[in-house]
Symmetry: C2
Subunit: 191 residues, 2 copies
DNA sequence: TTTACAGGTGAACAGATGTTCACTATAATC
DNA sequence: GATTATAGTGAACATCTGTTCACCTGTAAA
C-alpha cells in the first residue's frame, strides 16, 4: 500500500510512541510550518480511511492501517500489487484473542497431540473458564498430572483422546477437571 | 494479577478508545472529583510499573500490562496464582512480527508440509525480501506455480523438499524465485 | 492523645491542543 | 491570459491538558 505524503512520518511516530503526534509534533516530523497544513492533511486522511475520529472527536489511526495485509492462499501465488491494495488487514491480538482477561499462553512439551499438528515447542493460546465442546483441544488435569488432549463428549460419555498412537484414550473415572480450552496454536520459526 | 483501585477503569478505557484517558475523563470513570486525586494515582501507578512516562513526559501504559501472561509448559500444570503474577507478558504483534512493512499473512492450501505440522487452512506469517537459510520454510515460485517447501542449501546446491512423502524433492533448474520466508504458523480453532 | 499519613477536595495556572480565518505561491486547466 | 484548484503560511482563539498549592478527613501507629 502506498501512503500519502507525510503519512509514513505519522505511522513511524505512532509505532515509536504508541499514540498519535500532536499537530505541533507533526510540524517537526514533516518540516511544515503551519498547524493548519497538518489539519488539512488529517482531514484528507480521515476521508481516505487512514484516520478516524472517535465519539470524543479525537483522532485515532484506523485498524485498517495498523493491521497486517491478509492475502490469498499459498497455491494461488503471490498477488499482484493491485490485489495487495485490496487486501484485508488484520491485527493479530484482535484476531486471536476474544476474552483477554481469561487468555494465557503456554509452551507445549510432549508429543501427545503431534498428529493434530501440535508439536513440542509450539505455543498455545488457551482460554480459561470456557465450556469445551466435542472435538475441542483442551488442557485437562488428570490423576497423573496435566495434559493436552482432544475432548470428546458423545452421548454424555466423556473421553480424552491423544493425537498420537503411542498414547491411549483416557476415560475419566470421576469428574474431569478442564483447566482451559485451546483457542489457537502458534509456531515461530525465527527467533 | 490484581490491579490497584481505579486502574481497571483506566484499562477498560484504553481498550475501548486506544489511548489513555485525560485526568478529567478519569474523574468520570472513577467518580472522583479532583484531578489532583488522579494525578496522585497516576504517580503511584508509575512507581508500580503499570504506567510509564515517555521522553516527552506523557503517560503511556506499560507493555507489561497490555500483553498476555506467558506461563510455563503444559505438562507442568497450571501455575499457582503466585506464579501467575510473576509471569512474563507479551504482545502477539511485537512477538511475531519483526519487519512489519514486509510481513504478510497467507492461508495454506494443500498438504505438502503436513509432516512439519503445517496443515491446510493454517495461516502463515511470511516476510518478503528475506534471505532464506538452510532448513527454512519458504514460499517459492517454480515452473508449475507457487508452493511452500523446505529450503535446503548444501554445498551450493539448492533443493526444495516437501514434508510429505507423496511429493518429490524439487531441484530447480535455473534460479529459484523465493517469494517469502515463513516466519510463523498460526492455527485458530474457534472462529 | 498526639502524630503521621494515605486519600481526597477545590481552585488556580502555564502550557499545549485542535480549530479557524485571511492570505500567498505554485501549478494545471480552460 | 485568466481561472481555479492544491498546498502551504501565520496568527489568533477557546478549550483542554497535567501540574501545583493549600486544605480537609478518617485511620492507624507512637
Amino acid at each position: 500500500m502506498i501512503y500519502p505524503k507525510y503519512f509514513l512520518n505519522l505511522l513511524n511516530f505512532v509505532r515509536r510512541h504508541g499514540y498519535l503526534p500532536s499537530f505541533r509534533e507533526m510540524l517537526l516530523l514533516t518540516g511544515l510550518k503551519s498547524t493548519n497544513a497538518i489539519a488539512k492533511h488529517f482531514q484528507n486522511w480521515v476521508e481516505a480511511g487512514l484516520l478516524e475520529k472517535d465519539r470524543a472527536g479525537k483522532y485515532v489511526v484506523s485498524s485498517a492501517v495498523t493491521g497486517l495485509p491478509m492475502l490469498g492462499t499459498v497455491e494461488a501465488g503471490w498477488p499482484s500489487p493491485a490485489e495487495e491494495e485490496l487486501a484485508d488487514t488484520m491485527n493479530l491480538d484482535e484476531f486471536l484473542i476474544h476474552n483477554k482477561e481469561a487468555t494465557y499462553m503456554l509452551t507445549v512439551s510432549g508429543d501427545s497431540m503431534i498428529d493434530a499438528g501440535v508439536r513440542p515447542g509450539d505455543l498455545v493460546l488457551v482460554e480459561r473458564g470456557r465450556e469445551p465442546k466435542d472435538g475441542d483441544i483442551i488442557i485437562a488435569e488428570i490423576d497423573s498430572g496435566w495434559t493436552m488432549k482432544f475432548f470428546h463428549k458423545r452421548g454424555g460419555r466423556v473421553s480424552l483422546e491423544p493425537a498420537n498412537k503411542k498414547y491411549q484414550t483416557i476415560y475419566p473415572k470421576d469428574e474431569l477437571k478442564v483447566a482451559a480450552v485451546v483457542m489457537a496454536v502458534i509456531r515461530k520459526y525465527h527467533a
